[in-house]
Subunit: 318 residues, 2 copies
């Protein structure tokens, strides 16, 4: 029987054992103290992977494109990991359709590791579990990690946008660039992909995007726009070249360090806030809370004064 | 020159001085320690006012209806206060159109007090400033307080729904009851008003509402549905009768105490959370934060371990 001890698993995963890696990721999904142990163990081994986030509306072709990118990376001889994140579905782990398709395509290729991500109780949800999972994959030695977000909410945008290189996938057609603007995608995109570029309106969508980006990105690097047909693989080479080019720019411009620092900042804030909110939730089940409420209802104290005592208790054992 | 000391103002407001009352509300809007002093002073004098929340889509006729309700209450000889809350506009204080119209209508009537509410920096925004303002008006002796929310987001629904009696205003027309359902209005409504009931479709809207409510309110009191034409005043007497009936039911059923206890619970939670979040924001500007981030970036510690120290500092002087 294999060990479930995080330390043994982490050591084996760092040495390249994929079964141990899968178990580590399950521990991260579940959160709690074991996940923290994993985090402490892998963190010193991180920092070499380049993460590429893919986001966009459902049906835009993200899964097919991710599959093509796997091929492109493998064509360079490099290993690749894929993390598919679906915040709208808490129990997708390893079971979403796109995953199974890709699993079949790459089942015999030991250089490809594919994993769906669910929260399963992690404090702070996927926005905290995802960076932890990425560090595990980083420590396991994958030079490239693709992060595909499956839903379309703010969480998905945040997760994809927290990658080193963010790819936003749209399709030809009026309004897609407008929607991208509304969803905040213009701000996070390092590369725009117009997928299904054989459809009507690809050129117009590119012009719309260029116009919108001209306004939105005055103070930062202008995102590349690449046209692809993921179904046939057309343009995927150009997309990968754009990713590589962006990676090189990040490294030479110093932007990579700035981004990673900002990301640590955001993650620290989120951890602190989530731990405090968790403490408040626990507190509400306690006696101090009941008596504070009763005192306010009886008008013995006002809510702010009552909150003083609650805060004092809230901050114990955080 | 008048005193701006909260204690003197509170005593004068409780004695019926309206200028002092207006100043107290400005203090509450600004938040901070002076607002807490006001809260402590007025809280023992609260508990007698009946609060009636009005919410609904823009253009539904809430302002006109509020104006008519003022007349209805004044017709009974009772004094009335109106708090108009517009979360979408942080600086509306005393200046929104509906307000000025009503001000003119009731300018010579000392039994009517109308006030627009903005946050102006209150920690926790309008969802915390509103209950505080309501307690000030309660302590000032108004037996009835109308709370009109001007926007259409979750905050507005929360604010109106936190009243003793919640009135949801819709208009005749297909889909309005569906939208009410989507916005969570079916759950919070104690009374539905179909305003502009002289328009086509009023009967159909009533049937739609009854169907939707039949499903949504199995486990609670069935909301009354009242048709009004606020522009002419038709049906406003029925609406006021429905409010009075609901008030009586709240009192005799014990539901009033349960609701107020729940509201205190929600408010306490919000205060505790906002105070902790405020502390986290302050913390981010400090040296401990900078050094924690630097340690994580340098991979000396992982983010969770770094957060331990930050939490320890976060919980000091909350």
């Amino acid at each position: 029987m294999r060990s479930r001890d995080p330390k043994t698993l982490a050591e084996a995963a760092i040495e390249g054992d994929r079964a141990s890696l899968a178990r580590l990721l399950s521990i991260v999904e579940r959160g709690g103290e074991p996940a923290r142990v994993v985090g402490r163990l892998v963190h010193p081994h991180t920092g070499t992977a380049h993460t590429v986030g893919l986001t966009g509306a459902p049906g835009a072709g993200k899964s097919t494109l991710t599959n093509r990118l796997i091929e492109a990376v493998r064509g360079t001889g490099s290993e690749v990991a894929v993390l598919a994140v679906d915040p709208s579905s808490p129990f997708t782990g390893g079971a979403i359709l796109g995953d199974r398709v890709r699993m079949q395509d790459h089942a015999l290729d030991a250089g490809v590791f594919i994993r769906s991500m669910a929260t399963r109780g992690h404090l702070g949800g996927l926005s905290l579990a995802t960076p932890e999972a990425l560090r595990v994959l980083d420590a396991a030695g994958f030079p490239t990690i693709l992060v595909e977000t499956v839903g379309v909410g703010q969480v998905e945008v945040d997760i994809a946008g927290a990658a080193d290189t963010t790819v936003v996938v749209v399709n030809p057609g009026w309004g897609d660039s407008v929607q991208a603007n509304k969803a905040g995608l213009l701000e996070i995109a390092d590369i725009f992909v117009i997928n299904k570029a054989d459809r009507d309106g690809a050129a117009q969508t590119q012009r719309d995007l260029e116009d919108a980006l001209g306004l939105a990105t005055r103070e930062r690097r202008q995102p590349a726009i690449v046209r692809t047909i993921a179904a046939t693989g057309e343009g995927v080479g150009d997309l990968w070249a754009a990713v590589e080019e962006h990676r090189e720019w990040l490294r030479t411009s110093g932007e990579l360090e700035r981004r990673r620092e900002r990301r640590v900042d955001d993650e620290l804030r989120e951890i602190v806030v989530q731990r405090l909110l968790h403490r408040v939730r626990e507190l509400r089940h306690g006696k101090t809370w009941d008596s504070a409420r009763a005192s306010v209802v009886a008008r013995d104290v006002d809510p702010w004064t009552a909150s003083d005592e609650l805060l004092e208790e809230a901050v114990q054992d955080v």
